[in-house]
Symmetry: C2
Amino acid sequence: MITARSSLILNYIIGEYIARAMPVPSQLIANNADLGVSPATIRNEMALLEREGYLIRPHTSAGCIPSDKGYRHYVESIEDVRLPRDEQRLISHTFHQVEKEVEAWVSLTATLLARLVQNVAVVSLPKSTDSRLKHLELISLQDARALVVVVLEGAVVKEKLITFSEAVNQLSLTIIGAKLNSLYDGLSSRQITEKQVELTALEKQATDYLVTIMQVEDSKEYQDPYLEGWHFMLNQPEFAKSESARVLMELVERRGLLKVIVPGKFSRQGVHVIIGKENHDEAIQNCSVVICNYGVPDQAKGTIAVVGPTRMSYTRTIPTVYYLSSVLSQLVAGLYGSEYPEQQKI
Amino acid sequence: MITARSSLILNYIIGEYIARAMPVPSQLIANNADLGVSPATIRNEMALLEREGYLIRPHTSAGCIPSDKGYRHYVESIEDVRLPRDEQRLISHTFHQVEKEVEAWVSLTATLLARLVQNVAVVSLPKSTDSRLKHLELISLQDARALVVVVLEGAVVKEKLITFSEAVNQLSLTIIGAKLNSLYDGLSSRQITEKQVELTALEKQATDYLVTIMQVEDSKEYQDPYLEGWHFMLNQPEFAKSESARVLMELVERRGLLKVIVPGKFSRQGVHVIIGKENHDEAIQNCSVVICNYGVPDQAKGTIAVVGPTRMSYTRTIPTVYYLSSVLSQLVAGLYGSEYPEQQKI
DNA sequence: GTTAGCAGTCGGGGCATGAGAGTGCTAACG
DNA sequence: CGTTAGCACTCTCATGCCCCGACTGCTAAC
């Protein structure tokens, strides 16, 4: 339904348009695309591509700009999703210089990603699907108030201030903590609630808090991802009048980008691209999202994404998202004590 | 040097300008400000205020807009920095509904503040000036790798992945942990390093990690504050062309707003307002910052700030920042087990 | 199928015009 | 001396116009 040459021309137009942010004239294509044909021939092809819906003409006497369908074709024809070796090295080197903490990794990923692709990066923390208790610690603060620190499988640490029904000293708390640790070690929140044991009032209270924390952790999905790089996006001519940026920001900041995207169920492996109108939410229909899961199968997963105008550099963004997701996966795998499988292609 | 009536007129103009975002004509003042004089008289006063530098005229035949000096006068003359009782109740009610975690409080503060004042809110976590160890926990992950969880005075919890020089099991780690806890309980990082004790190789390594974590915690100032509400700011006509917003965002996101402000040394108590050119950094000289410290004296302090166009509602922003800082102070005081002193005025 | 040539179309910049808004000034008033 | 009415003046903004330049679509020839 589309000849090889049309496809070449289409991809050339899109590449140029991404770089110039202006309609691409036939002249330019004939000169630079090295097809050995004249502008007139190009124009014929362009007219065809326009009829087929791959191109849009802002007005009669102007060059073409790609439609969502055009971008889709362009993205599908990208073959190489690997970042150049030297860039890979540069990135992984940066990760070695940072503190060995999940938050630091994720935050760094967001910052790097935003800078590398000059758009907004969205990276969520890795989340266990069904968290299991690794360790529990109760620390007395004052009278009946205490701090409970919960360490879950995968080096997830959660703390919460709690208040017992009566004053307790550190010694009692340590004893309670020891008992609960031995009782609940390695269990999920559900298993803990189902466990039938004799507990004192205080132990019961501590257990309740523990279960609550674990349930909260299990239930909060895509909460508060790291957002970085708004100022890069504002640089794009698409967002010159800030009204357009505002709508998008409101969506991403307030309602949570990931919640909006998820309905798409991009559950398969690899990088996914959602272009313009393919997005469900209206506020983001002149944007594209490049998104990828990372994590360890059956243990924990997170999401890494880039949001930018549909006219973003996919050839740069896709490999970058892909590579960073694999780096994060490996780091997270270390937390769960498992090796991470070889990288796979899209 | 400025009569009572001039001052009234000036403040009226500024109030109007903040509301309308347009130059204020003499007509409007005469009609609404209830001074019992005609527009002509107002014009005379306006001419005076312009000569004195309180007002600026965008062009000859236009109303006036306030200069930074004018805003300064306006802000100084604000007397009531208390939020209405019912708003106070609404806010404190919201805090009761949220998880009892420092991060949750600070994040909520940023969100609330941004929404209440319709501008960007910047809130930093409370930071101890000289943190002391409350509890240490070592958790084995795999072979030589482990997780160290450090609880500091003030319910600050930090975790880090560490690697020992040799494989260690959980039992050994627990023993090491118990020993270090009894040795270092309540000490600062400096005191820990100065403590002369016989340690095994592993204990030495764990101590080093502990000290590093505490030093990092002590040294990182104003790191990664919670930012909220960019989309509100983009609504302001001042930022209609997103170029102006970009510069500001770059400053706040990349270089850290608080670092830029700090040189001003607003060490005293209460809310401070930095207007336009009073800011050191050029990128923010058409903005104002309303900023306030919170925390417990000598134990921990954080910062809460609002950034917006110089034409922001100071009468709303100042009380809101003030009240939220006192709420946060009280919450943080609870963490340190001390009562928080009565609220004081600016 | 490809190409040259040419007419046709549309956006954007430059410019003049006119209306409207609001002031500055002057002269009169109490 | 402070206040006021009246009026001329100034400047912005919106509108309309025109023309230029950029590209295309079409046609006819290769």
